[in-house]
């Protein structure tokens, strides 16, 4: 009886070791590519809201971790675009807590000349067919923020039409666009009050070891 227990334990342990080894090997083999894919994805988003011609710094690594109630009380990242070290724009991630179905993660790029450069949705769980028109893939709605002048605190125009503002809501979905408009407005207010400190030299949001992969991303994009 006891011997069969110990035999079974050994067999099970052996299989555990083999299975772990295989997973470890595959992980090792795909790790670089997965990081590169994630970076390429992020760069694609960044380039779609801040034209790559306008800056010549390494925007992926020139970033800061920021926290502020205006951005949704979580750790957010600001990617800084500079031309010959002169601030051009910042892309700030934010969380809209009041979507129809939970949080909406978005990224807002703002030019230092006081205009929105572009907005994109990073992650959401809104209703397919209704609220998901905030995705760029589904509708052009999200591009209507581009070029808008940054709002004041009490700006009534920064709301959906139903609330007397200038942004369309969707048929059958008001809560989603309302949450997005509100979140973009808050990011804009944050940018206005923190613009100076945002572009000051600071710690990068990435550890040194991560930067090595940047080369791979550039190869990937060629």
């Amino acid at each position: 009886m006891l011997s069969s227990v110990s035999k079974n334990a050994k067999v099970l342990a052996l299989f555990a070791v083999i299975a772990t080894a295989i997973v470890g090997l595959v992980n090792e083999a795909t790790k670089g590519r997965i990081i590169a894919q994630e970076q390429a994805q992020l760069l694609k988003v960044l380039h779609s809201i801040i034209p790559p011609k306008l800056h010549n710094n390494d925007i992926y690594n020139d970033c800061k971790i920021i926290t502020d109630p205006l951005l949704g009380n979580k750790e957010q990242t600001a990617y800084l675009a500079k031309y010959n070290n002169k601030p051009i724009a910042a892309a700030i991630t934010a969380t809209a807590p009041d979507g129809y179905n939970g949080n909406i993660n978005l990224i807002v790029a703002i030019n230092t000349n006081g205009r929105i450069s572009g907005v994109r949705i990073l992650k959401h769980q809104e209703t397919p067919g209704l609220g998901d028109k905030i995705e760029e893939r589904k509708s052009t709605w999200i591009t209507r923020f581009s070029g808008k002048i940054l709002p004041e605190e009490n700006d009534n125009q920064w709301a959906v039409r139903k609330d007397g503002g200038m942004f369309d809501q969707f048929t059958g979905a008001t809560i989603t666009p309302r949450a997005v408009v509100k979140a973009v407005k808050k990011v804009a207010l944050y940018f206005k009050s923190h613009q100076q400190s945002l572009f000051e030299q600071g710690k990068s949001c990435r550890p040194e070891s991560d930067k090595l992969t940047q080369e791979m991303v550039e190869n990937e994009n060629d």
Binding site: V11, V23, T30, I34
Partner: protein, 237 residues
């Protein structure tokens, strides 16, 4: 190959694709089946991933069946399946990143798909490698086919397209695969949402049963009524 061998493979294919189809008859793995089939692309992606895991796990389970003590076979099967799913997940993350994101949580959920542990326990652990992997292939194909049909129905009804977002799975060239069957301004929401999946699934099962009934009615003499699992309602005819 002997005559008998060939007919055995035929039987395996028939079982996996139709008679004992994991989606339509065994009703296994309903969670991903219903959740992911809002488009053909998603369905194909999850179907292929499941197929791959099923063949790999069936082959491995059959390969080690003589060395595994029967008291601990289940934990070992689970270990093997989990390892394969993790590998598939990592590979999809690396090579089809867009699809990996849209399949989300349902990829790791393949581990809990009862089709896989079911086939490992019911077939692969008792049969030689060739037959076990063939069984995995056929069961996987059967599952993938149901996913694809459901995906196609829901995508056409829901957004009037086919193969929307195929480039996420197959690379940029596949963007041209997208077919706009017809265009409407407001989508048929029910088809995209989970209840639509249940409806479509119900109709598929009904259609399969209707076809089965027709077949049995057409050739009633051959059968000696040794049917155990097929539900046939003669009154309905």
């Amino acid at each position: 190959m002997t005559e008998q061998g060939i007919s055995e493979y035929k039987e395996l294919a028939w079982q996996g694709l139709w008679k004992n189809n994991p989606g339509l008859v065994q009703l296994l793995g309903l969670c991903p089946l219903l959740a992911v089939t809002s488009t053909v692309t998603n369905a194909l992606g999850l179907g292929l991933a499941t197929l791959l895991v099923l063949v790999a796990s069936n082959t491995t389970v059959s390969l080690i069946r003589l060395w595994v003590p029967k008291e601990i076979r289940i934990p070992i099967f689970v270990l093997i399946i989990a390892a394969f799913v993790t590998c598939v997940q990592l590979l999809m993350n690396a090579f089809t990143y867009g699809l990996y994101q849209s399949l989300g949580i349902f990829l790791p959920l393949i581990v809990t798909n009862c089709v896989i542990i079911g086939r490992a326990e019911a077939y692969a652990s008792k049969n030689p490698i060739k037959k076990a992997s063939f069984d995995g292939l056929m069961m996987g194909l059967g599952f993938t086919l149901v996913l694809l049909i459901l995906g196609a129905i829901r995508e056409i009804l829901g957004q009037g397209t086919l193969f929307d977002g195929a480039d996420l799975l197959l690379g940029d060239w596949a963007a041209s695969l997208r077919i706009e069957v017809f265009h409407f301004d407001s989508k048929f929401l029910l088809a995209i949402l989970p209840p639509g999946a249940f409806f479509a699934m119900g109709f598929l099962i009904a259609a399969k049963n209707a076809i089965d009934t027709k077949i049995t009615v057409r050739k009633p003499k051959e059968e000696n009524k040794t049917i155990e699992r097929v539900r046939v309602n003669f009154d309905a005819q």
